[in-house]
């Protein structure tokens, strides 16, 4: 099998399965498969599962670039778009669950929440950012936007920061889990800053070297 085939036949289907497993777990329990249940507050369980799956996938998406370099596996790039799209998919489900199950279409309350509750405001902004990235994730959009595509897709950084912040901001007292997310995100972003600095110093160092322009 070529690399191309391995990705198409094995790795991408695995990403599909892995990304949809939490949803299958919710549906299974929702329909009482094997005596399972969503507990006393199914709406909350669905909302939380979708939100956390979105964050997990967002962090995985951000882990692709460091992993490619550290593991010297550049072909991992082929999985990044799929992971990013699934992150957006679960963020959308999270938003829909909030409007349909939690607010039960109480539109005035939705407006009030977005305007008055900062953790909901930033959650909304994060989903909007991801929507823009998802909408421009095709090869065609990439070609059409050219250099601007890269700049637009840096939007994943604020989206991830806002997403983790959104999670931590609604916790009553137990910040341990949001802090784990924040720590992983800090590592992933810190690695990039560190690489960038290293690249800048090496280029500025070489530019002063004689004989190079």
């Amino acid at each position: 099998m070529t690399v191309e085939q391995r990705y198409r036949r094995i790795y991408k289907p695995l990403v599909w399965i892995g990304s949809l497993l939490p949803l299958a777990w919710l549906l299974g329990r929702g329909f009482g498969v094997g005596g399972g249940s969503l507990g006393a507050d199914p709406a909350e369980e669905i909302l939380r599962t979708c939100g956390k799956t979105a964050l997990n996938l967002l962090l995985l998406t951000l882990a692709v670039t460091p992993l490619r370099q550290i593991a010297r596996a550049p072909q991992l790039l082929r999985l990044r778009r799929l992971l990013g799209l699934f992150a957006f998919f679960h963020a959308m489900l999270h938003l829909v669950a909030y409007v349909v199950l939690e607010l039960q279409f109480d539109w005035p309350m939705l407006g009030e929440d977005v305007a008055k509750r900062p953790y909901i405001t930033i959650g909304f902004v994060a989903v909007a950012l991801l929507a823009a990235l998802a909408a421009t994730s095709t090869q065609r959009a990439m070609r059409r936007l050219g250099r601007r595509w890269q700049r637009l897709h840096w939007g994943i950084y604020p989206a991830a920061v806002l997403g983790v912040w959104h999670y931590g901001w609604q916790v009553k007292a137990d910040l341990r889990e949001p802090l784990v997310y924040a720590g992983i995100l800090a590592l992933l972003l810190g690695w990039r800053l560190w690489k960038r600095r290293a690249a800048l110093t090496s280029t500025s160092g070489s530019s002063t070297a004689p004989g190079r322009t």
Binding site: G39, A40, D41, E112, K172, D174
Partner: protein
């Protein structure tokens, strides 16, 4: 059963001395319904019961005897026993709603004792049996509103907190009463993390504590309290957010000054001492105008939250002249 502990508590005072007359009459009616035999002592828990061995689970005790109090019960449909006992906040056993049930099963709720301290004539350590002996248990179906904007309807078993507090003869200096939960990280794994400043503490103003709605709870759904719901002794203050209803109480202290309470210490701008259910005063991070009543429909129906959780007619008078935005 007469021991030094028993003698430290005065005989039960007449309920008429401490309860408003209408309430008193209602309770008499309940008691009358029990019949003479019940009044003779058979209905009083803790009597004629051999001491429970250490680690004795609630299930090994004789089931509690009680009478339903219609006066203090809502007609709303109670939330299922399964939901009441598998979904709640009890951070001593973990911060997830499923943690209390998962982690409290081996908790030893008996033998149990309660220390009474502070501004009262009768102080000391009392066994659970001493605490319960004089009180007839009532079943009261109360609304329960969590500060997180979900709610339940729960048939508790208990007796008026005021009846218990009167037995300790609080002095004129007692303006507040403080309650403390057991501190035992060995049994309560949640206490191994500094999520809150353990042990959990709560408090009430004396007039709130003496209000007939304030209930000392020992059971739910006709059974002794399961560990995850605050066995063996917890408070239920139905017009306040759930976190005021402190669980697994080991200490009652009468104070002159407002006691410090756990959630207020944790986030003073978000959780006040009073914590009365109030749809007009939002939590800084979320609205309190509505609540989701768990167990009604698959996704819990949204309903309007009522002032004082629907008990305004009974308790609003306690706060006359107070700015409820300031004293949230």
């Amino acid at each position: 059963m007469e021991g030094p502990m028993t003698r430290r508590i005065q005989p039960r005072i007449a309920p008429s001395e401490i309860t408003p007359e209408a309430v008193f009459r209602d309770r008499r009616r309940v008691l009358a319904a029990l019949g003479a035999a019940a009044l003779g002592g058979a209905a009083l828990p803790g009597l004629g019961q051999s001491p429970t061995p250490a680690g004795g689970a609630a299930s090994r005790l004789a089931p509690p005897k009680y009478a339903r109090s219609e006066r203090w019960s809502t007609k709303e449909t109670p939330t299922s026993l399964e939901d009441v006992t598998s979904y709640n906040n009890f951070y001593e056993f973990g911060t997830d709603k499923a943690d209390p049930k998962a982690n409290a099963q081996k908790f030893r709720a008996r033998p149990w004792s309660v220390e009474v301290a502070g501004e009262a004539e009768v102080r000391g350590r009392f066994t659970l049996e001493d605490i319960l002996r004089p009180h007839a248990l009532e079943e009261r179906v109360y609304r329960f509103r969590c500060v997180e904007a979900w709610s339940m309807v729960v048939p508790w078993l208990g007796f008026p907190l005021g009846d218990l507090l009167q037995r300790f003869k609080p002095t004129s200096r007692a303006r507040y009463v403080e309650f403390t939960t057991l501190l035992d990280p060995g049994q309560m794994p949640g206490q191994r993390s500094p999520v809150l400043d353990w042990p959990y503490a709560e408090g009430l103003r004396m007039d709130e504590a003496m209000h007939p709605l304030a209930l000392m709870v020992v059971g739910v759904y006709g059974q002794w309290l399961p560990n995850q719901n605050g066995a063996p002794l917890r408070l239920v203050v139905p017009w306040k957010y759930g976190f005021k209803s402190i669980k697994s109480i080991v200490r009652i202290r009468f104070t002159e000054r407002e006691p410090r309470t756990s959630w207020n210490l944790s986030a003073p701008y978000e959780y006040g001492f009073y914590a009365n259910v109030n749809p007009a005063v939002d939590h800084p991070r979320w609205s309190q105008a509505k609540e989701r009543r768990l167990g009604t429909g698959f996704f819990a129906t949204r309903t309007d939250t009522l002032p004082f959780n629907g008990y305004a007619a009974d308790v609003a008078g306690l706060y006359r002249g107070m700015d409820l935005r300031r004293y949230f």
